[in-house]
């Protein structure tokens, strides 16, 4: 399984985190470590609890129980503002953009330059610079976000998470709607961000992408930890951990493909 980096302390350390939504036990007894300069991939089937975990770390949901340590201090992430202030930035699965505001306003929302007399010019310049870094193809930053395509919106959400110089950035399926070039750019960006010493939590259903950038792969299944893998682990191992069985629809399908048809 995974190698243990006992020499360093993780910047983010979760122990026994649980979350209950009424009758649904979305997360149970979750453990997670994220080190500086490391990409942790969080994988699992639909409804495994990945987004819920990310939302807890973003301060959107409060955990039912468990402890969270950030930079070696126990913290209570009781509001999104607090998480952002500490340096935990998030790209949410639903992107959480305001459709009635333009791209610049969305990027800087809650953190505008000069609050009493908004510096639109400087904000627009920062916006263009950030979007260029992401190889974004956005026609105008002065159009409402409602007029952007799904992938363009995703790029805006990613750009926004980088704006505040976070220590940890969490990306909930950031490449789900992106084109080939933009996906490559986001993966490059993840590597650049990691090399700058940030911790990255990446959620993705694309095992190829996950293997390409992740240092560790954490599997969630039905709201529980189900193993930690390295990118070198075999596909069968990963699929087994995600689905919870060696005999499953994925392996059967692969086996069918290997057999010569009609033989």
């Amino acid at each position: 399984m995974a190698e243990n980096e006992s020499s360093r302390e993780p910047i983010l350390k979760l122990r026994g985190v649980s979350k209950q939504f009424g009758a649904v036990q979305a997360l149970e007894d979750i453990e997670l470590d994220v080190f500086a300069g490391e990409v942790v991939a969080l994988v699992g089937d639909n409804g495994a609890g990945k987004s819920t975990l990310v939302k807890i770390l973003a301060g959107v949901h409060q955990p039912t129980s468990g402890s969270i340590q950030f930079m070696n201090r126990p913290v209570a992430l009781d509001s999104p503002g607090k998480a952002l202030e500490m340096g935990i930035a998030t790209v949410f699965q639903d992107l959480s953009l305001c459709e009635n505001l333009d791209v610049v306003a969305n990027l800087f929302l809650g953190h505008e330059l000069s609050p009493w007399r908004l510096d639109e010019v400087q904000m627009e310049v920062r916006a263009w610079t950030l979007l260029r870094e992401l190889a974004a193809r956005i026609p105008s930053v002065r159009e409402p976000v409602a007029s952007l395509s799904g992938g363009q919106r995703q790029t805006v959400a990613i750009a926004r998470s980088l704006l505040l110089d976070p220590r940890i950035i969490m990306l909930d399926e950031p490449t789900a709607a992106l084109g080939v070039a933009q996906t490559a750019e986001v993966l490059n960006l993840i590597e650049r961000v990691r090399d700058r010493g940030l911790g990255v939590i990446l959620i993705s259903h694309n095992m190829e992408d996950v293997r390409a950038v992740a240092d560790r792969i954490v599997v969630l299944r039905l709201g529980r930890n189900n193993g930690i893998f390295t990118p070198e682990s075999s596909n069968a191992e990963l699929v087994a951990a995600i689905t919870g069985a060696t005999e499953n629809s994925v392996s059967r399908r692969q086996a069918r493909k290997l057999e010569p048809t009609g033989a």
Partner: protein
Amino acid sequence: MNEPQAALDRSDSRVRHDEGIGGAVRGFIDRVRSGDLGVLPVILGLILIATVFWSLNPVFLAPNNLANLLFDAAAVGCISLGVVCVLMLGEIDLSVGSMSGLASAILGVIWVKAGLPPALAILVALASGAFMGFVYATLLNRFGMPSFVSTLAGLLAMLGLQLYLLGSTGSINLPYSSALVRFGQIHVMPAWFSYMTAILPGALILLLGLDRMRRRRAVQLSNPGGLSVLLAKAAILTAVLLVAVYYLNQGRGIPWMFGLFVLLVVLMDYALTRTQWGRAMFAVGGNREAARRSGINVSRIRISAFMLCSSLAALGGILAASRLASSSQQAGTGDVNLNAIAAAVIGGTSLFGGRGSAWSALLGILVIQSISNGLTLLNLSSSLRYMITGAVLAIAVIVDSLARQSRASHGRA
């Protein structure tokens, strides 16, 4: 406009870049067609209303009648400005009429009955407005009580308090010679001052626009429209304002009270479009959860909006009392409430939240006041006035809904 090098924001070749006055006009037409109507319907409506009433009775456009109209518009206009704030969040305050009535009762009781200084009475009235707004916002934040329920309860409670305060006599006359009543009935701007204020907006647009162009060029951003559009805007605005001021000065002139209202509109417009608070207002109205996740304190924004709304309603009540020189049981009842809300919507602030402008209070109240003034001139009873105002409101809401659908299909939510 020739740029020294490709501007930072001009890298995408698929976007048509509108330059100069022709470009600005084309961009405007595009926006209108996609359902981003802005103030266009209201302006057209105002022109239509003015033409109809003028043809029925030319007195409608006489300078003195227009001055009267402006005197009458200020009080409900102030209330409507507050309503814009809560509508912006997708909330509503149905108690603004009662709030204004209560404020006028407080004014009468403290100032005339108790004989205390009027400034103190005004302060207490405004503070009671702020308090009510705080209560509504807290009910919403703590208990999730929908604002239309809590403000409906507030409407009744404040109406009761107003009647209780005024007691058996039913109304209190304010002294005619007092500055407050003269402010509400007589005082108009001196001619030279009104001309200066007419020039100011154009000059400001020009100066701020030039400064903005300079700063954008310095960081290699393009200047859509450029100097020509800026000059045209400033010139047209100045010309329109000068003509209007000249015309009004042929009669009584421009009421100070209306000047105060316009000043409040300008301040509110600045706050909504140029400050972090204003951004947060639009964000909360557009997507509350996204705003919260961006670190915006949604509860605090709601508190600020409801407090502003009720305080402006109280101010409107004070202005209405000074206009009528009395605090009566009728103050704030009848159509005040709905006129204030209708004005904001007619002016173009969306009932669905996240879209609107401080100017909609000004434009909307001009529409409503014109209708009411014109029908009074024609000696038509208030029954017809209610029906026509109701129809105009319905049209405004239909225009809002249609524009919203059109925006959605053109990607401009």
